[in-house]
Amino acid sequence: MNCIGCPGACPEPANDVLPSTREVVSIVASKTEMSIQSANTRRRPDGEPTKRVMQALEDSLQANTKASSSIMEQLRQCPEAFKVGEILGKAFDPLKYAQDGGELGDRYLPPAGVVIPPLV
């Protein structure tokens, strides 16, 4: 890269004069190479935020990979949990709908997953 030996010779383009992708890429590539060469001698204001975001993206990718098999993982680790859930579900069944005196079809318990807004 031409820019390695002459930092500052290739300034960032002004916002109104926009570089092509190739230019953007080459500017970034020059900066990366410069920062690798002089990592011990100069501060890199952009290095830490970039690393942090790269890590956050890596984390969201990992979370995505894990999430895609979370049910299978839970089932593998604790198959009894599903049995317990089933028993509890059946125990609450009588409470879901109105019993004696109530109108048919009225729910006492909301369906699973419903978010009820607090009323003041």
């Binding site: 092509s20 190739r22 953007v24 935020p49 970039t50 975001v53 790269m54 993206l57 995505n64």
Partner: protein, 365 residues
């Protein structure tokens, strides 16, 4: 009677993102986002906590830096990064996601147009002919070839094909009254005479050499040469170029789809025979399935970082060239429309010419 205000307050949530994406969206976006960050297209301060938002912010800035605003002045459509070549309904998307095992390994850069931009070029060709006899055909050849890099162009050649097909079944009487006959008759002599003999390279050299006297003609030449320079080295990335090896299942997908819709309509004058043929064809576009997008470039996410960056760079270079080239084309189209409007005004002012508002004076953009 005015009721008392209800004692209800709405909570204000701070630091909450406006949009949340499913885990299917975040994974591929994270892989692409890392590549865009390495290439400098996304910046650290684009990060808001979501990989999809991160990619979107970088991509939006990239598009506006490459002239998307100018392009939008003429073309209605979109350039998007998506996981599917066709638009899916919510139900279809849920079904695809339910059947999917693991994270998708492809994203696509897709470009498409909602409507064909009207380019009534007759008055412009007449103006160019005043400068040089070959200038209209050279201008037409270079303009259409460069538009073809980014979109399907509907012009007199498509209209001729459509007209020939329908004329086969017409009687002599019907032919006499038919619009189809006019397609051939309305082709300007300057185009008809030289279009088959003038090669692209010669046409481009002519544009570089000829110095027209009028400023509008010079401006047209300048924008066209700019357009040509931005698009150099690029070819039309139509979906048919994606191989089965590259994206398994693509052939079946494409065989169920219709040919892509035109991004522009080049007529001599509005409401001429080309326009009539286009209207007839447009009525049936998309009837037998979704239309293929005009531009589709795959991004393979399951590659080592260096190779992925190369591919993303290549795809974004294509997007940049497309936007810059179309931004120059938009300036040409605006000039062409101005010249057409001038032609309309001049002809209405002629004594004896009926100055009635006709459909030709109304441009539906």
């Amino acid at each position: 009677m005015i009721g008392l205000p209800l004692d209800v307050t709405f909570p204000k949530l701070k630091g909450i993102r406006w949009r949340y994406c499913t885990r299917w969206d975040e994974g591929p976006a994270a892989v692409l986002g890392m590549s865009l960050l390495r290439l400098g297209i996304c910046r650290p301060n684009d990060w808001s906590g979501s990989a999809v938002d991160f990619v979107e912010r970088g991509f939006r800035r990239f598009c506006s830096q490459n002239g998307a605003y100018d392009v939008k002045s003429v073309w209605v459509g979109d350039l998007r990064i998506t996981d599917s070549l066709f638009e899916l309904t919510e139900q279809e998307r849920s079904q695809v996601e339910a059947e999917r095992e693991g994270m998708i390994d492809h994203l696509y850069l897709v470009g498409d147009y909602e409507a064909a931009a009207s380019i009534p070029i007759g008055a412009t060709l007449a103006r160019l002919q005043a400068a040089h006899n070959l200038l209209p055909v050279a201008f037409y050849e270079v303009l259409t070839t460069n538009l073809y890099k980014w979109m399907r162009v509907y012009d007199y050649l498509d209209a001729q094909e459509h007209a020939e097909m329908w004329m086969e079944d017409l009687s002599d009487e019907e032919l006499e009254a038919s619009t189809y006959r006019k397609v051939d008759m309305e082709i300007p002599a300057c185009i008809k005479r030289h279009s088959k003999t003038l090669k692209y390279r010669t046409a481009r050299n002519l544009l570089r050499e000829i110095q027209p006297h009028t400023s509008v003609a010079r401006e047209l030449m300048r924008h066209l040469l700019e357009m040509e320079a931005h698009g150099q080295g690029h070819e039309h990335a139509w979906p048919g170029q994606i191989s089965e090896k590259d994206v398994p299942g693509i052939e079946t997908w494409l065989s169920d789809a219709e040919y892509y819709r035109p991004g522009c309509l080049i007529t001599w004058y509005e409401n001429d025979a080309i326009n009539a043929c286009f209207d007839e064809e447009a009525q049936h576009m998309g009837e037998n399935g979704p239309c293929q997008p005009n531009v589709a470039l795959p991004i393979h996410l399951n590659k080592p970082a260096k190779e992925l960056d190369e591919e993303v760079r290549r795809v974004f270079d294509h997007a940049s060239a497309m936007l810059r080239s179309l931004a120059s084309a938009a300036k040409i189209v605006e000039l062409v429309r101005d010249l057409y409007d001038e032609y309309l005004r001049e002809h209405r002012l002629e004594p004896g010419f009926p100055a009635e508002p006709g459909a030709a004076g109304v441009r539906d953009e």
